[in-house]
């Protein structure tokens, strides 16, 4: 259970968002500039709220009144960035292994095989990110976040930078991830059809504020 009740001023925009979400995939839906990325940056701990609380499964991550701010590396929240941010100096194997090593998790060959099979990246292990296609990079970024064994996975417009063909290539992996990985996700997108396919609960954001909460019916273009 993810609970967010924060406010943050970022230049002209003020983010005042409050929602709670349970379930496998929470969709953060809104136009660009609505504050979606800032909101998940606060959940990840990369951005500090001016005021408010963030908690996950009852554990407080941020509470400005009590001066609580768990640093990003202790949150165990995976983040797939829109611009991926694979480490260019490490090969795919070392990229995938990065989170496990930093979290001192036991080397789990079964888990690694499960994830590389799920994402079809087993044949890329010896390559550097510079030698991967856009779709391959996307899948490696997903695998890297998954293998750090997070308790929540943040996905920031994972299809945003891909053309239609690549989107169709990645979408099935995201569906498999949702159904098989067993990690709750927050999925950020401005695309209503992606939301319908992936998210079970929608948080609609407009200019920094939550304007609707609910199932797929709150998405624009839904027949009443």
């Amino acid at each position: 259970m993810l609970q967010v009740d924060v406010s943050k001023r970022l230049g002209e925009v003020v983010i005042e968002a409050s929602f709670a979400s349970e379930g496998r995939v929470t969709g953060l839906f809104g136009a660009s500039g609505a504050g979606k990325t800032s909101l998940i940056n606060m959940i990840a701990g990369l951005l500090r709220p001016d005021r408010g609380r963030i908690s996950i499964d009852g554990e407080t991550l941020d509470d400005t009144a009590a001066l609580v701010h768990v640093p990003v590396h202790r949150r165990r929240i995976g983040y797939v960035f829109q611009d991926l941010r694979l480490f260019p100096h490490l090969d795919v194997r070392a990229n995938l292994d990065y989170g496990r090593r930093r979290n001192r998790l036991a080397d789990d060959a079964v888990q690694r095989k499960r994830v590389t099979d799920l994402l079809d990246i087993g044949h890329l292990l010896d390559r550097r990110p510079g030698r991967l296609s856009g779709g391959e990079r996307q899948r490696v970024a997903l695998g890297r976040a998954l293998l750090s064994q997070p308790r929540l996975l943040l996905l920031d417009e994972p299809l945003g930078s891909l053309d239609e063909e690549r989107k169709d290539e990645i979408l099935p992996y995201l569906v498999r991830l949702r159904d098989e990985a067993g990690i709750p996700m927050v999925y950020v997108s401005h695309d209503a059809s992606e939301m319908r396919q992936l998210a079970s609960r929608i948080v609609m954001l407009q200019r920094g504020r939550v304007t609707a909460l609910g199932g797929a019916e709150v998405l624009p273009g839904t027949p009443l």
Binding site: A44, V72, H73, Y79, R102, N103, R128
Partner: protein, 231 residues
Amino acid sequence: MLELSPTEWTAILLSLRVATVATVVTTPLGIAVAWLLARREFWGKALVDALVHLPLVLPPVVTGYLLLLTFGRRGPAGAWLADHLGIVFAFRWTGAALACGIMAFPLLVRPIRLSIEAVDRRLEQAAGTLGAAPWQVFLTVTLPLALPGVLAGMVLGFAKAIGEFGATITFVSNIPGETQTISSAIYSLIQTPEGDSAALRLVVVSILISMAALIASEWFARRALLRLHGN
């Protein structure tokens, strides 16, 4: 053609030792200072920046004299170090290394700082979300990506240390076998009648060392680039 006398050999080996020790000892400090200047905002940052660059703009003889006042036998730091740790800098080769290290420091720090500034902070953030504490982010992401700059800084610092003259001779004098580096040996030889050919031999040696340092730095830089962007 290049037959060197024992004195000349001594000066060459001493120069190499002084420059190597100066570079190796100052590099960790240089990386720390470069990181502070590149990545942290703190009170007095402009002052630290100015202090780091000071040896570059001060006349070397001034730096050498300040070292003599501070680290000489009767200087506050020099007396304390000699009494408590048994470390003596004055008129020793270690003093030459100290002088060279300080003179080379700005040249060491600058490329490291620039290359740390060039490391994409978004990669450091990504490392954080994967569970890396700040020091781990530095060791596994920032430093490896800044490696070409670190090597460039080390080579520049080494070259500066090999050629340092003014601060060294002021601080630790020109004692054959102890503090007489290639530069101070050449200086002595030029002032000696019949010293010309020996001076020329040392000139050739210093050109060779400088060339070797430049080629080595080019090679390291290429290796580092391959590591970063290769397959």
